[in-house]
Amino acid sequence: MDRFNLNSQLEHLQSKYVGTGHADTNKFEWMVNQHRDSYASYIGHHSLISYFAVAQNESIARVKFEFVEKMLQPCGLPVPRDE
């Protein structure tokens, strides 16, 4: 497989699957992806979201809502990229 093809395949993967890394992925981006994946998983697993809801004493719908809200910016403001 030649180099050109590999690159285009990677690009295809990156566009298809959110969070696929690339050579310039920094720690922050990686972290944000991890958090978004985690929140999505918490929301999907009913037992986990119940676990959170019991601990926080909030309704499940409220916990779900806050999690989706947090996915917008899970790790605070993005760090500027040094070029």
Partner: protein
């Protein structure tokens, strides 16, 4: 170790409930998802009771459900969104009583992923298309249609993806017959991700976006997008087309907004509870809701997170909405889903606690509840003052309740009442709805009547007068020397003119032919005709009748000495004796004839039990009357027999399997299949019921025949969802029983116990446990048993809640600020209305002593100063040898994330003499939250944050003796045996440590290679630990025996101390010996036995209310057998929601050394040809396989 997993009680939580006409009849049904199970419920419109029609394990996580009906159709399909990466459409087959997969289309990877659809499902109300969405980016639209044969067809998916977009909610808009439109609540994060200054983040808007499916172009376009409130969370479609103005209700924090393309938005506040303790800065959101349409009007019932339901109506003309109106309706438990049934019921699938069915008494139209309209609130952005006063139910009335253990927080398996089987003591619930539940294995019964009789009766029967009567007319009670006849009416009264002989005991009573009655007594048979003519048959000589068996047309009696006489009813209604009698070789102990099959003249078989330990099947055919067809040898003399046809073949509702039930004098019940043609006996199953001889009675349960088996406790063998169940009844010991039907009790049982007559009905078939409930005040955390008094000590703590003192303090502050309020606002019952939310970081907590026998709280200690209890244990300190102390670990000002506290405390309490109260001895401060406590060699072992310490008791506080800080994060669980300590870390799995007495040190010598987030563990032997983690996995880890010996035989202990760490951890590693994804977060595991004489098994509980067992296999053959069966089942019965079974059980790590018994048990549900095919592969017969599966369950559990 190889284990077999069985579910005793499936999850009791409900995450989605939908209503529809799933069987295609007028009657509406409810389909609920219990996360891993799909269940079909019916609400009986007359009795208002919920009835489970079908439950099916889906072996996957069901995340969304929606009913769906094609245009012009009359039957609803069920669309399932799950973790399978597939969309599945199911149809309920009423004849076979099962869900059938109509379509299954794969679109992505499996698992609950961020961009794989399954979280949201939205259908076009006209039944033309469905949208399935993920939390981020992906949305797929399928077009549904029917082909020429009227079968449902599904198109290939159309993409409506938008990358960098989070989706909060997704609905199908009602647009009549225009192109289907889906509305989504979306947030685009691409700008916020790029801008380090935070401006873009602050200006990010939440958008309401319409996606239109152009049916002509077969293409999805973004039609319209408009910003909405930044805290919007839910959408509800407003009826369109001819029924209303179309559009959406956008629910956001504090507001409900009506929005639609090209119309101005209208907004109304969500009314708040008038409560002096409320935090006005805290937003109120809608968590669930339902829209209901009827005869040209529609309304919404929306529920807030406090549980208050609001009725929302729209004021509109043609397509123009003038105002939205909202008013308080009623308060019910916070729901995951609300469903309105046309029969006038509201089903509340509670997110925690029991689910309820309410019936509407009114629609809240004409009460004087204040109503708010959007007219008044158009411009005011601030200071919304819509307040209402919560009150008791006014528009709803509770009709039924489905018990739910969810969330099940902790449990213990103990036998405190010395029953046959141990009880399960469980902490359930959240907040003010928390409960302590005692679960006993058995069916719940509802007792209708208990009446005293003038002596101790021997037997009881009921009888109709005519064969087509709906209800029973008489209850006949037989005493030692008399017979009492009672008539059933409004009241039960004695009658004398019935034709029954009252001066003799009775052996049997039956309604004979069309309209005659039969009484058999020791000296003869009375045939009472409808016109009160009595034909009597007297026994020859001095011989007496010892046993009798009857049905509608046949009578068999056994005379002393073992002679059988057979009578049959002829067409003139005359009872004729068969000319020959049959002499049995020994005394007859019991007899049974089956019911006459529909359309036949007679039952073909007679079962005779003799005291030579054998049961014989005799033919009643005219060709070979009273010829012995087959014989079965027994281990003890038979006491009672019952030939019965059980409806346990799922495929054909009118036909069942013929069984011969044999109750033995040693308390064993045998169930043997009786061949309907040859009369041969095959496939015997046995079960020990109790210490007394087993007596069997034929009864009717849910219209199907069932057997009541009475031993030292009553049991019921019945069919439920085409499966045979044998379950004890939670009731007193009974002597004799019979079927009972009356207008008041359509399906009951009449029985005698000592000198009382009892009438009761069996309800909630299919439930495994019946529950006794003790109310608690806050979320329970843990509990311990105080063995001398058999009391339980429970610690409860609640985040975000006012403690009584804090509440008083806040109120006093409000009063001193000059605020006035009505004190009655504070009198709301917390069980119904919940406790008012304080703010994060505020705690309410208490210790409670419960007497489980009386079901009451003997003492309760509230913690003040914002302290919360987290751990509890009972310690016997060395220096106070004969006294048990209670140690409770608390934290002051505990914060959830990050986990901090201002200070932790260890309270030491003494019990008073009778164990009903506590005296505080002293309290000891510590630096972190003590989450784990354990008695250890006459001292206290405490996990305080990441520090593991040994404390000894002192005069004024606990004295720290030893400490190690080698645990990475936080200790949540501790176990010990000898000098070995097992420490469970919150994130880093388990650590094996050794306590070295001579230099008083704890040294960690082994840990795990998998970073597990431990929730609970139990030590199953010195080297082995079973546990569960937060992702729903079960695992067993074992220390290799050479390591174990090496550590224990190290005399100086220097070796393990100076050994080098391995893989950034302890020098040794434990090995994983089994792993299994249960699908529920385990909250407790116990090594115990559940049945008398059964083997030791692992019993676990899960947070969703799951109770299950792991049974260790005994032989290699069994392992091979069940593994092969499981493999075939995976191929032949792929899970309902489309998930691959092997992948599901290997969700986080490959399944290891565990066979899924729940899947194996689905073998019984397979059609016969598949059963046979699998059986051939296994070189066995289907009956053998079924027997093996059943044995596996009954030997270890129930």
């Amino acid at each position: 170790m190889f284990l077999y997993n069985l579910t005793l009680q499936p999850p009791t939580t409900i995450n989605v409930a939908v209503v529809g006409h799933f069987s295609g009849t007028k009657q509406q049904e409810i389909v609920i998802s219990r996360v891993t199970r799909l269940e079909l419920l019916k609400a009986d419109p007359n009795s208002g009771k919920l009835q489970t029609l079908l439950t099916h394990d889906a072996f996957g996580i069901i995340r969304s459900l929606t009913p769906f009906r094609l245009t012009g159709g009359s039957k609803d399909y069920i669309i399932v969104g799950s973790d399978s990466g597939r969309i599945v459409i199911l149809e309920y087959n009423i004849v076979k009583n099962k869900f059938e997969k109509v379509h299954q289309e794969t679109f992505g990877k499996s698992g609950c992923r961020r961009i794989v659809p399954g979280q949201y499902l939205a259908v076009d109300p006209k039944g033309r298309s469905v949208m399935i969405g993920a939390i981020e980016k992906q949305k797929l639209v399928y077009i549904l249609n029917r082909d020429s044969a009227a079968n449902l067809t599904i198109s290939s998916p159309l993409e409506a993806h938008k990358s960098h977009t989070l989706v909060h909610h997704c609905i199908g808009l009602d647009v009549g017959y225009e192109n289907p439109v889906f509305a989504c609540l979306e947030v685009d994060y691409s700008d916020a991700d790029m801008d380090p200054s935070g401006d873009a983040f602050n200006s990010t808007e939440k958008m309401l976006t319409y996606y239109e499916l152009d049916l002509g172009l077969n293409h999805v376009v973004r039609k319209w997008s408009d910003p909405v409130d930044a805290r919007a969370n839910l959408l509800f479609p407003v009826p369109g087309g001819n029924d209303g103005p179309s559009g959406v209700l956008v629910c956001s924090e504090n507001f409900i907004t009506y929005k639609h393309q090209r119309v101005p938005e209208l907004r109304v506040p969500i009314p708040r509870r008038r409560n002096p303790l409320e935090d006005p800065s805290r937003g109120l959101i809608i968590v669930a809701g339902v829209m209901h349409k009827m005869k040209g009007v529609f309304f919404f019932l929306l529920q807030s997170e406090e549980g208050d339901i609001y009725k929302v109506t729209l004021d509109y003309e043609d397509d123009k909405v003038n105002a939205i109106k909202i008013k308080y309706f009623d308060t019910v438990p916070v729901a995951a889903s609300l469903c309105i049934l046309r029969a006038g019921f509201l089903f509340v699938a509670a997110e925690f606690g029991n689910h309820r069915l309410y019936s509407f008494t009114s629609l809240g139209d004409d009460n004087d509840e204040p109503e708010w309209s959007s007219d008044e609130f158009m411009d005011s952005d601030t200071d919304i003052s819509a307040y209402f006063t919560p009150r008791d139910l006014q528009n709803l009335e509770r009709a039924d309740e489905l018990e739910s253990l969810n969330p099940l927080i902790d449990a213990k398996v103990l036998n405190l009442t010395d029953d046959d089987t141990p009880q399960l003591y469980a902490l359930c619930g959240r907040g003010a709805g928390s409960t302590f539940r005692i679960l006993r294995h058995g069916l719940e019964i509802s007792e209708m009547a208990v009446s005293e009789l003038p002596g101790n009766p021997n037997a009881v029967w009921t009888t109709k007068l005519k064969s087509d009567d709906e209800f029973d007319a008489y209850i006949i009670v037989s005493f030692v020397n008399a017979t009492l006849v009672l008539s059933i009416g409004e009241t039960v009264e004695e009658v004398t003119d019935t034709g029954f002989l009252a001066t003799t005991p009775t052996l049997d009573v039956h309604q004979l032919g069309d309209d005659a009655l039969l009484q058999i007594y020791p000296q003869g048979i009375r045939h009472i005709r409808a016109d009160r003519r009595v034909n009597e048959w007297k026994t020859p000589g001095n011989r007496a009748i010892v046993k009798a068996a009857t049905n509608k047309r046949q009578v068999v009696i056994a005379l002393t000495g073992g002679e059988l006489v057979y009578f049959e009813l002829d067409n003139q209604g005359q009872l004729n004796e068969y000319q020959e009698r049959k002499e049995m070789s020994s005394n007859v102990t019991c007899l049974s004839v089956g019911e006459v099959p529909e359309g036949r003249q007679r039952s073909r078989f007679l079962a005779v039990g003799c005291d030579d330990n054998a049961v014989r099947i005799l033919s009643l055919d005219p060709d070979n009357t009273l010829e012995v067809l087959s014989t079965q040898g027994l281990s003890a003399p038979p006491q009672s027999l019952s030939i019965i046809e059980m409806m346990d073949i799922g495929t054909d509702a009118s036909h069942g399997t013929l069984y011969l039930n044999i109750g033995l004098q040693n308390g064993v019940l045998l169930r043997t299949m009786l061949d309907t043609i040859t009369g041969s006996l095959t496939d015997t199953r046995q079960r020990f019921l109790g210490a007394r001889p087993v007596k069997l009675f034929r009864v009717t349960i849910q219209g199907a025949p069932a057997v009541l088996a009475l031993s030292s406790r009553p049991w019921l063998s019945y069919t439920f969802q085409s499966r045979l169940h044998l379950t004890p009844l939670s009731y007193d010991m009974l002597e004799y029983g019979s079927n009972f039907t009356s207008p008041q009790v359509p399906e009951g049982i009449v029985a005698i116990s000592a000198n009382t007559l009892r009438i009761f009905a069996v309800e909630k078939l299919g439930t495994v446990f019946n529950q006794a409930i003790i109310q608690l005040s806050y979320t329970p955390r843990h509990f311990v048993l105080h063995p001398p008094s058999r009391n339980f000590v429970v610690i409860e703590s609640e985040h975000n809640t006012y403690s009584p003192m804090e509440k008083q303090r806040t109120l006093d502050a409000k009063i001193s600020e000059g605020k006035r309020f009505d004190p009655s606002l504070l009198d709301l019952s917390p069980e119904v209305f919940g406790l008012p939310k304080a703010e994060p970081g505020k705690w309410a907590s208490c210790i409670r002593i419960i007497n489980p026998f009386l079901g009451d709280t003997t003492s309760k200690i509230e913690f003040e100063e914002n302290e919360a209890a987290f751990s509890i244990t009972m310690v016997n300190f060395h220096s106070h040898n004969n006294e048990l102390f209670l140690v409770v670990g608390t934290a002051k000002d505990a914060n959830l994330a990050p986990r901090t506290c201002s200070s932790g405390y260890l309270y030491v309490y003494q019990f008073n003499e009778d164990g009903n109260d506590l005296n505080l001895l002293h309290k000891t401060q510590c630096d972190d939250i003590p989450l784990a406590l354990l008695p250890f060699q006459g001292k206290l072992l405490a996990g305080v944050g990441k520090a593991l310490r040994i404390y000894d008791i002192g005069k004024r506080k606990l004295l720290r003796k030893c400490e190690t800080k080698a645990i990475p994060n936080c200790i949540v669980n501790l176990h010990t045996q000898g000098n070995r300590i097992i420490v469970c870390d919150m994130q880093e799995s388990i650590h094996y440590a050794s306590y070295r007495q001579h230099d008083n040190r704890i040294i960690i010598f082994a840990d795990d290679t998998t970073p597990r987030w431990i929730t609970t563990t139990t030590m199953i032997d010195y080297d082995t630990l079973a546990g569960g983690d937060k992702f729903g996995n079960f695992f067993i880890d074992r220390l290799p025996s050479e390591t174990s010996e090496e550590v224990d035989e190290d005399p100086t202990g220097n070796k393990i101390m100076y050994e080098k760490g391995y893989l950034m951890g302890a020098p040794h590693k434990v090995s994983m010996i089994s792993h299994y994804h249960v699908g529920d977060i385990l909250t407790s595991i116990h090594r115990t036995t559940l049945v008398a004489g059964g083997r030791e098994i692992l019993v676990y509980t899960g947070i969703m209310g799951n109770i299950g067992v792991f049974v260790p296999f005994l032989t290699r053959e069994d392992i091979d057998f069940f593994q092969t069966l499981e493999m075939h089942m995976r191929n032949e019965a792929p899970p309902l929601a489309g998930r691959d079974h092997l992948q599901y059980r290997s969700f986080y790590a490959p399944v290891k050394s565990v066979v899924d018994g729940d899947l194996c048990e689905q073998y019984n549900l397979l059609p016969m040809e598949k059963k046979r095919m699998i059986a051939d592969e296994l070189d066995r017969t289907p009956a053998e396989i079924q027997k093996k599966i059943e044995d596996m369950r009954v030997m270890a559990a129930f």
